[in-house]
């Protein structure tokens, strides 16, 4: 359950941003979940709820909205683009990528030219898309 650590990062960052923007209440935090990292949603939302409870007023009525972001890869040599399904990773590989998505470069290759030099166009990991609230 390292999802807890990522949830903590989300809340820390949201609080930081809300303070910077001068918000007094956070209403909604929209979080994008990149497919590559294969986050487990149940422990992640559980963690978010628990951590929100530990915070005071700023987060009291905060809702977290999750959006899926499919993983898309693009080869730097031959420009081929492909999706996560094409990556055909075994369980140990998927587990390693779960902790550090960049290690995908150790286990994935461009389906066309076999190069390991590819870009993760989208869907790497957890990002905050939007924070709304009251000032």
């Amino acid at each position: 359950m390292h999802e807890w650590a990522l949830a903590e990062a989300v809340i820390e960052a949201a609080v930081e941003d809300a303070r910077k923007e001068g918000m007094t209440r956070i209403r909604e935090i929209t979080v994008r979940i990149g497919e590559l990292q294969q986050i487990e949603l149940d422990p992640f939302t559980f963690a978010l709820d628990e951590i929100i409870k530990l915070h005071g007023e700023l987060l009291q009525h905060a809702q977290v909205k999750l959006e899926d972001e499919p993983a898309i890869f693009k080869c730097r040599v031959c420009s081929t683009e492909w999706h996560y399904q094409k990556a055909s990773l075994n369980e140990a590989e998927g587990e390693a990528i779960h902790f550090a998505p960049e290690v995908a470069h150790a286990y994935m290759r461009c389906p066309r030219c076999k190069s390991p030099d590819f870009e993760v166009l989208q869907g790497r990991g957890v990002t905050i898309q939007r924070i709304t609230g009251l000032k």
Binding site: H2, E8, E12, A13, A96, A100, E102, P116, Q129
Partner: protein, 247 residues
């Protein structure tokens, strides 16, 4: 927005001192020094973590002889304790596979490790820094706000030309420098002293080239008994400028 940077300080909050081992170029002994320094401090009874952030050539696991372990998940990941050290490295996740990472990937991977690793309470976190002053090093310098820098060089002109740039950069950024160690010393020479005299930086001393060191690689107990360990105790840990009494 990337949420990870915001949580780094929290993850490091239980750590008393962060010692980042750096130097101008590769092959001057950063990984060996980080690993042996961590072992030595652990033997002295301190709670010590070791973080290998050299993503292009992670080596600390080879030096400590770590193989076949994987961190536990518990509200994050818990660095496995090996030879009395809490050890974290990308090697847990890549194994022996080559992972050709771009600058952006290296930044991301380092940040992920910093964001999810729960060190708990430590007296020291020793960081094996990425080489030089490229993007990876600059990111680490930025994230590890409280880091103190221990700088390695050899007595070679080739090493010195680059280590001077590192010192200049750290001083420009007003980062605290523990001092400079000349590693793999083979003969008397005033070159290091002369070349660094213009920089106001403590020269801690030298570690001799040790012909027997190679046989101890992979054997933490032997490394802890090595000349390198003894010298690190003498020139770093016992040096009053290292301010160990604070810990």
């Amino acid at each position: 927005m990337d949420p990870r940077v915001s949580v780094v300080d929290k993850r490091l909050a239980g750590i008393e001192r962060i010692i980042a081992v750096t130097g101008g170029k590769g092959g001057i002994g950063k990984s060996l020094t980080s690993s042996v320094l961590a072992l030595t401090l652990a033997q002295l009874g301190y709670k010590v973590g070791l973080l290998d952030l050299d993503m292009s050539a992670p080596s600390a696991h080879v030096i400590l002889g770590i193989d076949g372990i994987f961190p536990e998940e518990e509200y994050g990941i818990i660095p496995p304790e090996v030879h009395g050290i809490s050890f974290m490295s990308i090697c847990y996740f890549t194994g022996d596979e080559p992972a050709p990472l771009r600058g952006e990937d290296i930044t991301n991977a380092m940040l992920e490790l910093l964001a999810i690793t729960r060190w708990g309470a430590l007296d020291f976190l020793i960081v094996d820094m990425p080489p030089g002053i490229g993007d990876a090093a600059m990111d680490v310098i930025r994230w590890l706000k409280r880091a103190e820098f221990l700088i390695l060089t050899t007595g070679s002109k080739v090493a010195l030309v680059t280590v001077k740039k590192v010192i200049q950069m750290l001083q420009e950024l007003q980062k605290p420098i523990v001092g400079v160690i000349e590693n793999m010393k083979m003969r008397e020479s005033g070159l290091v002293r002369d070349e660094l005299s213009a920089y106001n930086v403590p020269l801690l001393g030298a570690i001799e080239f040790d012909m027997d060191l190679e046989d101890k690689i992979g054997d933490a107990a032997a490394l802890a008994e090595s000349t390198m360990a003894a010298r690190l105790t003498e020139i770093v840990i016992q040096d009053p400028r290292f301010k160990l009494s604070q810990n």
